[in-house]
């Protein structure tokens, strides 16, 4: 059985088991599925790295009739990042959602929702069929909404409702684009569409899909739902929601603009997208600076970090495509997405530990926690290094590649955004760091075991390791990359 099929089936089977089986057995099955899927993700990465891109024609039917899933470098990079975050979130949830710790309801529901979310992410990262991608992001949104609401409080429900409005509007806009594409080209397959001659409504289709996916990615000005939704969920859920979910719609955007219809991109549209990204960087950072609750700071930081990703469009798309720096910009953006996923998940898991001890995530209540839990504090600091984009982290590698592309193409304004965003990130992450490392009263509850504290530290270390060993991921991302890789940018 191919690694691809295993990766798709395991989380689904795990979710089914977690729903059908009685509590202790279902939970064990879910944990087993998490472990196995993580393994499958790594095997798939090895397959892609050493044997080329596996291709799965569902049911044996080729497009335009059937649906094809392909694992390229981008897919497996995102899939392995997802697996690392999911495995860590699962470990954290083993305690956070243990029977007795959490209510019966959440202890049952977390596991299937998590595995369904994971299934959806894998589908989105692999599928080459626009409608299948739609089903994937719908599954993703519904599972994510369930996780946002799992806390059960009125604020969490309001956050879930707000999220839902944006998610539903986004899905339908995306679907409208898909309908136009199918009507114009008679196919939904990304690679087939790329070979068809352009039709008049393609631009509209691309615009609709992009707008819909932006709403789902929470790009400014569609970001208002994100901070309350991500901050209101329990820590393991926040880790997945903030670290992973926005990457799914962003990955589809990359596929649309660089694989499906690279020739339909106009410079004005590309610039507009990057301007929205710039606004997101500024707005998200200012929002983070204004918060007094750590989870909200971390969530607003996601708004800002998402903004960076959208700088890739004018740097690697449109007139810029096919020039030497385009591949660097594209790869840099993916590096930023990967390292943000790992670092942000680490942050939320660390905050979860602190909330368990301090009983709150207000900065004033977290004073001095670094002494009590040095490992999680260190994890938070390492994640901050990645988010600020300091070397030698994955965030730095991404930032360096994007900035080089910006200067090389004469679009240095985007480099200014990159650099300024890093300083803003340092500013809003400094406050929690200073509070954590201050001497202060220590909370009453006992800190979690070292093994549990190690989980966010491992994730944060992975985000740094992504920078230290960036050659491997860089080469991996070159497999199936839409733009020609140029050496020595």
């Amino acid at each position: 059985m191919s690694a691809l099929v295993t990766l798709l089936v395991l989380p689904l089977a795990g979710a089914i088991a977690a729903i059908a089986l009685p509590s202790p057995v279902g939970r064990t099955a879910a944990l087993a599925a998490i472990a196995a899927t993580t393994g499958a993700a790594i095997v798939l990465m090895a397959t892609v790295a050493f044997q080329g891109m596996p291709r799965l024609e569902m049911g044996g039917w080729t497009p335009p009739l059937g649906i094809v899933l392909v694992a390229d470098g981008l897919s497996v990079a995102l899939i392995v990042m997802t697996a690392l975050v999911m495995a860590s979130a699962g470990l954290a949830a083993r305690h956070a959602f243990a029977p007795g710790t959490a209510g019966e309801r959440a202890a049952f529901g977390f596991w299937p929702l998590m595995l369904l979310l994971w299934s959806a992410l894998n589908v989105v990262f692999l599928s080459r069929d626009l409608f299948n991608l739609y089903v994937g992001i719908e599954l993703l949104s519904l599972a994510a909404i369930g996780l946002v609401a799992i806390d059960g409080k009125a604020t969490a429900l309001a956050a879930a409702m707000r999220y839902m409005i944006f998610a539903l509007a986004g899905s339908l806009l995306y679907l409208a684009g898909v309908v136009l594409i199918h009507a114009a080209h008679g196919t939904l397959d990304i690679d087939l569409i790329a070979t068809r001659t352009a039709a008049a409504p393609d631009g509209l289709a691309l615009a609709l899909m992009t707008a819909g996916l932006m709403a789902k990615t929470a790009l400014f000005p569609f970001h208002v739902w994100l901070p309350p939704a991500h901050a209101g969920a329990p820590a393991p859920a926040s880790a997945m929601l903030s670290g992973l979910v926005p990457k799914a719609s962003f990955a589809i955007l990359l596929r649309l603009w660089f694989d499906t219809m690279p020739d339909r991109a106009s410079d004005g549209a590309l610039t507009l997208i990057a301007l929205l990204g710039t606004a997101a960087v500024i707005w998200g950072s200012l929002g983070a600076l204004a918060q007094v609750r750590l989870k909200l700071i971390v969530a607003y930081s996601t708004v800002a970090q998402i903004g960076y990703l959208f700088l890739v469009f004018p740097l690697a798309g449109g007139a810029s495509a096919g020039v030497p720096w385009a591949a660097g910009a594209w790869t840099g953006a993916v590096f930023l997405a990967l390292s943000h996923g790992l670092a942000k998940a680490a942050m939320f898991l660390a905050v979860g530990h602190w909330m368990a001890v301090a009983g709150s995530d207000r900065l004033s209540d977290l004073r001095g926690l670094a002494q009590l839990m040095p490992m999680t504090a260190f994890a938070f600091a390492l994640s901050a290094v990645t988010l600020v984009g300091l070397p030698p982290s994955g965030g730095f590698t991404g930032k360096y590649l994007v900035m080089t592309a910006a200067f090389a193409s004469g679009q240095w304004a985007w480099a200014l955004v990159m650099g300024g965003g890093g300083l803003l990130a340092a500013a809003y992450l400094y406050r929690p760091m200073a509070v954590l490392f201050a001497r202060g009263a220590q909370a009453g509850a006992a800190p979690p075991s070292r093994a549990r504290q190690a989980v966010p530290l491992l994730l944060a270390s992975a985000s740094v390791a992504l920078g230290i060993a960036s050659a491997g991921p860089f080469d991996l991302l070159a497999i199936g990359r839409p733009l020609a890789a140029e050496e020595g940018l």
Binding site: W325, V388, P391, M403, F407, A426, F437, A469, L489
Partner: protein, 487 residues
């Protein structure tokens, strides 16, 4: 094996750093053994290499990251000058720090970051490419922050915040400079001159300014110096690290690399950016000295003295001529040896006699003779009294000024010398010639604190007395200049 040597030198402090983080607070013995073992091993490796490099060998290791991001570690004479300084002083500081802290809390964190700091400095010294330099430079920024904040009281946290407030915007400027430059020239290696003709002179000047902004903060060039006196809130070993072993040195070293290995002395002269930098350095020299005069806290005075003295190195580099460069390079080592002596002694006065203010020094000389002798010799060296090391630096810098058509440098040096005397001699007067206050206590029954100070003093003395020999810092700097490791 030889290709691995640079990595090994790096690992001698990186490995202890990582292991130390995971040690229990109570594992004093293991932690001390790790720190000391790493320091001794590093010095040993460097001694081995000193002989080889003097014979003309160069070691190089390449670790490819993403395209354009090549981590290149290279040992040449210039790298070795800096790395041997920091390795030797690290060993001394480690001994000193172990004695200084005793069994205080949070030591695993402290020594972890301490070793990390030295690893970063080693990396800076060995970096063979601009981007490697930047990576280690930022690692240094980050690993220094917890050290400055170590005491975790209000003053320390404020100092640490101020440090980052200066450091991060300046590293953003540095990254801008590097990316701007490299997007036009490709990755910049220090061994081969980048082709700068693709950039117009105005862009080059802007890039140069960004570089100076980036490095000048660490080198505490006015007006980017504010963090350094504030950082005196940190414990004495950290001050030694900031002022002598690592941080300000890294900044000055960066200026040297940029002038000689990125732009090249000729291009710096052609762009007309050397003399403005020399003027800025001179202003820093004078300003730092004037501010030092106003301080009543020993460590504060020493801190402003550093602001002043480090700019000697920048001045030498900015003059962009052989003598200036030799003077600057030699002063890199000289200032390190003298300043670490002074900080070691200031720490001893603090922990053994409870003295922090200058007024408290009255009559301590006879009571703490070893410490006070070391302190006095260090101070005299700073003033530039022959045969101490500081004298040698000043002579070369003066000649360098004349050689580069900037005779006003002599005036700066003279004024600085007078000011140095003005803020150091009163201290010596108090130590040796005033009566102690009746309730004064103090002893120096702490060999682990005193011995490093004595060794550092002997080093500073030796560097001056033996300046003519090939193994002295001056001799080595001359070797670097003659061999053309830097252009």
């Amino acid at each position: 094996m030889t290709a691995l040597l640079p990595v090994l030198i790096l690992l001698t402090s990186l490995v202890p750093a990582v292991i130390t983080f995971f040690l229990d607070q109570e594992s004093h013995l293991l932690r001390n053994a790790l720190s000391l073992g790493g320091a001794v091993l590093k010095v040993a490796l460097i001694v081995v290499m000193l002989f080889a490099v003097a014979g003309g060998a160069a070691y190089e290791t390449t670790i490819p990251l993403a395209p354009g991001l090549v981590l290149l570690l290279r040992i040449d004479a210039l790298a070795l000058l800096f790395v041997s300084l920091s390795a030797t002083l690290w060993l001394l500081t480690t001994i000193y720090a172990i004695a200084y802290f005793g069994t205080q809390p949070e030591l695993s964190r402290f020594f972890g970051f301490f070793s990390l700091c030295v690893a970063a400095t080693t990396g800076i010294a060995l970096s063979g490419s601009l981007i490697s330099f930047f990576i280690f430079f930022e690692l240094l920024t980050l690993s220094t922050w917890p050290l400055v904040a170590h005491k975790q009281d209000e003053a320390s946290l404020k100092a640490a915040r101020s440090y980052l407030l200066y450091a991060l915007p300046c590293s953003a400027a540095l990254l801008w400079a590097i990316v701007w430059l490299e997007s036009a020239t490709g990755p910049v290696l220090f061994t081969e001159p980048p082709d700068l003709d693709g950039l117009d002179p105005m862009s080059l000047r802007a890039i140069f300014a960004l570089f100076i902004l980036g490095f000048g903060m660490k080198a505490a060039i006015v007006p980017l110096h504010g963090w350094l006196p504030a950082a005196m809130a940190a414990p004495a070993p950290v001050s030694a690290l900031l002022h002598a072993v690592a941080v300000v040195k890294a900044g000055a070293f960066g200026v040297i690399r940029v002038i000689y290995d990125v732009f090249g002395a000729a291009r710096v002269a052609e762009l007309g950016v050397g003399i403005p930098l020399a003027v800025l350095a001179s202003a820093t020299i004078i300003w730092g000295s004037l501010r030092a005069l106003q301080q009543h806290d020993i460590k504060k005075r020493l801190a402003f003295s550093t602001v002043s003295q480090v700019s000697y190195i920048v001045l030498g580099a900015a003059l962009a001529g052989p003598y200036g460069m030799i003077g600057g390079l030699a002063h890199l080592v000289h200032q390190g040896l003298m300043k670490i002596t002074l900080f070691f002694c200031a720490g001893i006065y603090d922990v053994r006699a409870g003295v922090r203010s200058i007024a408290g020094l009255n009559g301590l000389g006879p009571r703490m003779p070893w410490t006070s002798t070391c302190f006095s010799l260090g101070a005299l060296g700073m003033i530039g009294l022959p045969p101490m090391a500081g004298f040698v630096s000043k002579i070369y810098l003066g000649i360098g000024g004349l050689e580069s058509g900037a005779p006003w440098v002599l005036a700066v040096l003279a004024a600085s010398t007078l000011l140095n005397a003005a803020y150091f001699l009163p201290l010596l007067y108090r130590l040796w010639f005033l009566e102690p206050s009746p309730d004064a206590t103090g002893d120096e029954n702490a060999p682990a604190l005193v011995v490093p100070a004595v060794i550092a003093t002997l080093g500073a003395l030796g560097a001056g007395v033996l300046a003519a020999s090939a193994v002295s810092p001056l001799g080595w700097a001359t070797l670097i200049a003659e061999r053309g490791d830097i252009r």
